[in-house]
């Protein structure tokens, strides 16, 4: 006697359920839910669990991620059915990974026509990959008409707006999303970062201050706020902001490096060198190393560093801006002498030319 499947038992009508009970030698009497549970228990105890085997679609998806998009496309094509949009989505991803942007767009269009709304977002991603940010934003908007408030779509839309240079609009999307979805952290920070990228440091400072008010322990927001303050020319406040970030996490290389850069701007060369050296010890970043090289000669030549670190994807591009000349009017703040470890005080080798 073959066992019915779980789905068959779950969806069986009362007569069929009773028949199953009789064929399996089970008691068919009682409330239908209880009888159903009895059959399900029996099936679960007697069914032999089949070992999981990767199907073609699983293999295809893995191939895309493992970096074999051409092979993946061939496997996805073999899984295509007339009425299923999922293989088209997979095929589109593989085509995109393989660099066939036009083909990928077509595949996503097909999936969208089959009724898969997610395909619109995939299509938006393709358009963005091709540099067509405005069309990508429109694709997100059309998705949002049917999925209002969808966080993924809103985040994509804001990202594309920011990449297209509409930083303020991106920030507005982040702000409105943050107001409606208060349970999701980081949205205000993302908005502030977008404003910073859009060259609106004062507005960015305001939004990042708000982000810090909501999440006081958010170090990223504090570091980005510091960067925004630097760009707004409020260097002393920037130093305070970086120091606050370091109070929360003393081992953040970006904050140490950025603090060092600003200190150098205001003429605190010694403190700057110490902070950049500490940053270099914590993170193996070429930007910090370049700053370190510049600082190495600063005792003798006082030169502004060239670059600051960039944090992850949403970090701020400050390298160009922070490399501005140090303000000649700002006096270096006196600091108490501090014992440093030999490693910190040892002079680096001759700095390479910037």
């Amino acid at each position: 006697m073959s066992l019915p499947s779980f789905a068959e038992v779950e969806h069986a009508e009362w007569p069929a359920l009773k028949q199953m009970c009789e064929s399996l030698g089970l008691n068919p009497k009682g409330r239908s839910a209880v009888v159903r549970m009895r059959v399900l228990d029996h099936v679960r105890r007697h069914i032999r669990a089949e070992p999981w085997r990767a199907k073609r679609e699983h293999i295809a998806a893995l191939l895309t991620r493992l970096g074999f998009p051409e092979v993946s496309q061939a496997v996805w094509e073999s899984t295509i059915q007339l009425d299923a949009p999922a293989p088209w989505l997979g095929l589109g991803q593989a085509q995109l990974a393989g660099g066939s942007v036009v083909e990928a767009t077509r595949s996503f269009d097909r999936a969208a026509r089959m009724g898969d709304a997610d395909a619109l977002l995939h299509r938006a991603g393709v358009l963005a990959a091709a540099g067509e940010y405005e069309r990508a934003v429109r694709a997100c908007e059309s998705y949002l008409t049917t999925h209002a408030g969808d966080l993924r779509a809103l985040a994509m839309q804001a990202e594309f707006l920011a990449r297209a240079g509409f930083g303020e609009e991106a920030a507005r999307v982040f702000r409105s999303t943050a107001e409606s979805r208060r349970e999701i952290p980081g949205l205000l920070r993302a908005g502030g970062t977008a404003l910073l990228r859009a060259g609106r440091p004062e507005a960015a400072v305001n939004m990042l201050t708000e982000a810090i008010r909501v999440e006081p322990t958010d170090v990223e927001s504090r570091i980005n706020r510091g960067a925004a303050l630097v760009l707004a020319g409020r260097t002393q406040e920037a130093i305070a902001a970086f120091r606050e970030a370091l109070k929360i996490d003393p081992h953040r290389a970006e904050a140490l490096n950025d603090l060092g850069v600003v200190q150098l701007q205001v003429g605190q060369a010694k403190g700057a060198a110490g902070n950049i050296r500490r940053a270099a010890k914590l993170a193996d970043s070429p930007r910090i190393m370049l700053n370190l090289a510049s600082v190495g000669g600063s005792d003798r030549r006082r030169r502004a560093p060239k670059r600051t670190t960039r944090k992850k994807a949403e970090s701020v591009r400050t390298e160009a801006e922070v490399a501005t000349k140090p303000s000649p009017t700002t006096k270096p703040r006196k600091r108490r002498s501090r014992k440093t470890s030999p490693a910190e005080t040892s002079k680096p080798s001759e700095p390479s030319p910037p």
Partner: protein, 316 residues
């Protein structure tokens, strides 16, 4: 590791005791650890401890050896010794997750729940994605009657592993304590969906139904739980549900079974007397209907039921 050759070609030698102490042979150390693990797996705790003594003499700060020693001692019932071993492991390596988990488990055995919670905090600082640590911390907070904290921990565990039946069950138990019966019911549903044979979730569900006065469902879930594991308190609870359904004989049998397993269960003794008294007056018989007391209007099974009037009588 071998002693380096002395200048001039001769070998630099140490006295035997120092050689054993300062120049441990890695091969010997690993051989001792391997032998200890094998002995422990075979159930030879003394042999395992002997091999670990050799390993720890070779390398006194070997955290893995201390952890294994802690596990062996815990299994043999030497909790204080186990606690000391895990503490030594953490002294050698303060970032050992196994060490913190072991320490927490021994503290649990010793009933030092506050310290156990702190151990989980340390563990979670090292690995914030440890589902086991979140679940265990939730369980400790539950014991400390911090039900909201327990819910937060279990929610964290569920955000990392949504299919964790234990986390669903523990969240449900905490919600039940806070009086959120519908929320608790949903959690137990989820727990039983992911693990249909989860004893704790069945027992909790039975308590929930009993609390709601739904004795029929309570008996149903008590029966299911008892098929997995027998416990005196569960038989007692089942007996109470039978009393609610006016099934005196079944109630008497349940209480008797509870007293066979645990003769000191005073509540069962008292309830047995009540059940016997009740049997003089009323005694319903359910026959093959395990769903007795759960009548549902419009259900096809209930429509065909032979004892429907009686069932309706005891269904709330």
């Amino acid at each position: 590791m071998r002693p380096s050759p002395e200048a001039g070609g001769g070998r630099l030698t140490f006295p035997p005791d120092q050689t054993r102490r300062f120049l441990p042979s890695v091969d010997r150390l690993e051989a001792a650890m391997h032998a200890a693990r094998n002995a422990f797996e075979r159930g030879n705790a003394d042999g395992a401890l002997g091999q670990l003594a050799v390993a720890l003499k070779l390398k006194p700060q070997y955290d893995a050896a201390w952890i294994l020693r802690g596990r062996i001692l815990r299994k043999t019932g030497d909790r204080e010794g186990a606690l000391d071993s895990f503490a030594q492991a953490l002294k050698a390596n303060g970032e050992s997750k196994e060490g913190w988990m072991g320490l927490a488990s021994v503290l649990h055995d010793l009933g030092r729940t506050q310290e156990e919670a702190e151990a989980y905090d340390r563990m979670l600082a090292l690995d914030p994605r440890s589902v086991e640590a979140w679940i265990d911390k939730g369980a400790v907070l539950h014991e400390l009657k911090d039900y909201r904290g327990a819910i937060a921990c279990n929610e964290k565990a569920l955000s990392l592993r949504p299919e964790s039946a234990a986390a669903w069950n523990n969240k449900g138990a905490a919600l039940l304590r806070l009086g959120d019966a519908p929320g608790a019911a949903r959690c137990f549903d989820e727990a039983l969906h992911f693990d249909p044979d989860f004893f704790d979730a069945m027992a909790n569900r039975m308590y929930l139904y009993e609390q709601q006065g739904r004795h029929g469902e309570a008996v149903l879930w008590a029966d299911r739980a008892l098929r997995i594991r027998e416990a005196a308190w569960l038989w007692y609870a089942k007996g109470l549900a039978h009393l609610g359904l006016l099934e005196s004989t079944l109630a008497v049998r349940s209480f008797e079974r509870a007293l066979t397993i645990d003769p000191n269960l005073a509540e069962a003794k008292a309830a047995l007397g009540r059940a016997r008294e009740m049997r003089e007056k009323v005694d319903f018989y359910r026959g093959v209907y395990e769903c007795f007391g759960t009548h549902l209007v419009g259900d096809p099974g209930c429509a065909e039921c032979e004892i429907r009037p009686r069932c309706q009588e005891v269904t709330p």
